[in-house]
């Protein structure tokens, strides 16, 4: 085993431990802000996995978009809505708990089946991974060819969300200026 491989193993084990630990912390912690911080840690440790898989562009985008921009919005909402009201969560409706457990179990089963049955031999092969794998240009090429439909659908969904945000903001403003008059 070469030095490089040992480093990869050490990084992998540390990232895996951080990933599972922070994921547990997200659901176990009572304070919503601490949960959000744990989620940031979880997203960053996921980015380390992407880096280990040579998907450097995806790793950087993960940190920039999810750990950076999206989670800042979470923190804003938590801070505005009430971070100091230390209300213990009494639990949601029964069907919600049941549904989440079933969904998690289904995902776990799917993962195990895919890895053990389907991809066990594929994962060992590295010859079909090109030298360009994971670079920004190859990711962009895949977006614009194989997954063009999904890409366009997501862009429309985001556009709808942006317009919705503008409409909601504009309504509030109109009401406020109407009240002043």
């Amino acid at each position: 085993m070469s030095v490089g491989n040992i480093i990869v193993w050490i990084v992998w084990i540390a990232a895996a431990a951080a990933c599972i630990g922070s994921a547990l912390a997200v659901v176990a912690l009572r304070n919503a802000l601490y949960s959000a911080l744990a989620l940031i840690g979880n997203l960053i440790s996921l980015a380390v996995f992407y880096l280990l898989l040579s998907a450097e562009f995806v790793a950087a985008a993960q940190v920039l978009i999810y750990a950076g921009a999206v989670m800042v919005m979470f923190l804003f909402v938590i801070a505005y809505v009430g971070w100091d009201k230390d209300i213990a969560w009494t639990g949601g409706p029964r069907w919600q708990t049941l549904g989440s457990v079933v969904a998690a179990a289904a995902l776990l089963c799917e993962l195990v089946v895919v890895i053990v049955l389907g991809a066990a031999n594929d994962l060992k092969r590295t010859d079909h991974v090109s030298a360009n794998f994971g670079s920004a240009s190859s990711v962009g090429r895949v977006f614009m060819s194989n997954h063009l439909l999904a890409f366009e659908v997501i862009s429309i969904v985001l556009l709808v969300a942006a317009i919705g945000g503008v409409i909601l903001g504009a309504q509030k403003q109109r009401r406020r200026s109407g009240g002043l008059r």
Binding site: V8, L33, S54, E56, A67, G68, A69, F76, S135
Partner: protein, 338 residues
């Protein structure tokens, strides 16, 4: 070995470590003397002397400031929410500020005693995104610092500064898209090389440069976008409950962030370390261009009035963002056409 490919540099790891150490020392010294030069220049802009007591040309002033900060009692509010978060916020800000400089190229690389020495600590193919990713993480230093202080003013200041950083990050990222499209690369090393082959991108990307300059000043939170300094409104923003060297760490983060954004501006629009002659003297030209950009930062602080909070948000979302978007689209059109 292939697993480590994105992390690998051409130079041996121990040379990269030495380089990182040297860069951090240079940045710390640079921070110390930028504060001095800023106070001197502000004095000149306002027709007064500025600091002139400590040593010839007041050259010892930064060290006097440092000793004063170190000896100050580290005051801490009783009701601080979590001591680790309270202390961690300035540490996070400072670390992220230094980290971003690791991918910025300041020289063309040399060969010394048979060893390859690169002009940057880490050569990654997506270094521009890495700089932005690190910048987006450093927002948490501001938010956590304000939140953990358990103080109304710190909280309000953190929310304002956080909103400002998030808003201008968008314009900042969009304004460099034109440069990326022209160089056809996200690597800062490649972007500098592409400018060596053609011309400095300040010429074709003058609109992008304008957006980058304004959004960059807002991103580091300096005048005219320095809302934490608006003492009549918010005392001192997110760092009001910090004192001594903890406050000093926030200051270090702000100044190093300013140096990093200036270095990024030099790299993207002014040819980085390139100069018409003397290619082996890359770091010298880089430092020279960096000094000119830093002077402009201080010049802007001395001459422009501060924006109100609503003006700040309007400028970011309704003026800069559309201009940066149209610039990116126009550049894409011309690049495809060519």
């Amino acid at each position: 070995m292939s697993l480590l490919a994105p992390l690998a540099t051409v130079q041996p790891w121990w040379i990269a470590t030495i380089e990182a150490f040297v860069i951090i020392m240079v940045l710390l010294l640079g921070f110390a003397f930028v504060t001095l030069i800023e106070r001197k220049l502000l004095g000149r802009f306002q027709r007064r002397f500025g600091p002139n007591r400590a040593g010839p040309y007041s050259i010892l002033q930064p060290f006097a400031d440092f000793i004063k900060l170190i000896r100050k009692a580290p005051f801490q509010p009783d009701e601080v929410i979590h001591p680790i978060l309270y202390l961690g916020a300035p540490v996070l800000s400072g670390t992220m500020a230094f980290l971003a400089f690791s991918v910025i190229p300041w020289g063309g690389g040399w060969e010394l005693f048979g060893y390859q020495i690169d002009g940057q600590v880490a050569n990654v193919s997506i270094s521009l995104i890495v700089v932005f990713a690190i910048g987006s993480i450093s927002t948490y230093g501001v938010l956590l610092g304000g939140w953990a202080s358990e103080s109304k003013y710190a909280m309000l200041g953190a929310m304002r500064s956080g909103a400002q950083l998030v808003s201008y990050e968008v314009s900042l990222a969009l304004s460099v898209l034109g440069v990326v499209l022209m160089a056809r690369s996200l690597s800062l090393v490649d972007i500098v090389a592409a400018q060596g082959r053609t011309i400095w991108y300040i010429v074709p990307q003058i609109v992008g440069f304008g957006c980058f300059a304004i959004a960059g000043v807002a991103e580091v939170g300096r005048a005219p976008f320095d809302l934490p300094e608006a003492e009549q409104e918010l005392v001192a923003g997110y760092h009001v409950e910090y004192s001594g060297m903890r406050w000093g760490l926030f200051q270090i983060a702000e100044y190093v962030h300013m140096i990093t954004i200036s270095a990024l501006m030099v790299t993207l629009f002014f040819g980085g370390w390139l100069f018409p002659f003397g290619h082996r003297l890359g770091p010298l030209w880089f430092a020279l261009k960096l000094a000119i950009v830093l002077f402009c930062f201080i010049w802007a602080r001395a001459s422009l009035p501060r924006l109100r909070y609503d003006q700040l948000m309007n400028l970011g979302w309704k003026v800069l963002l559309p201009i940066a978007t149209v610039n990116a689209l126009a550049t894409a059109f011309f690049v495809v056409l060519k």
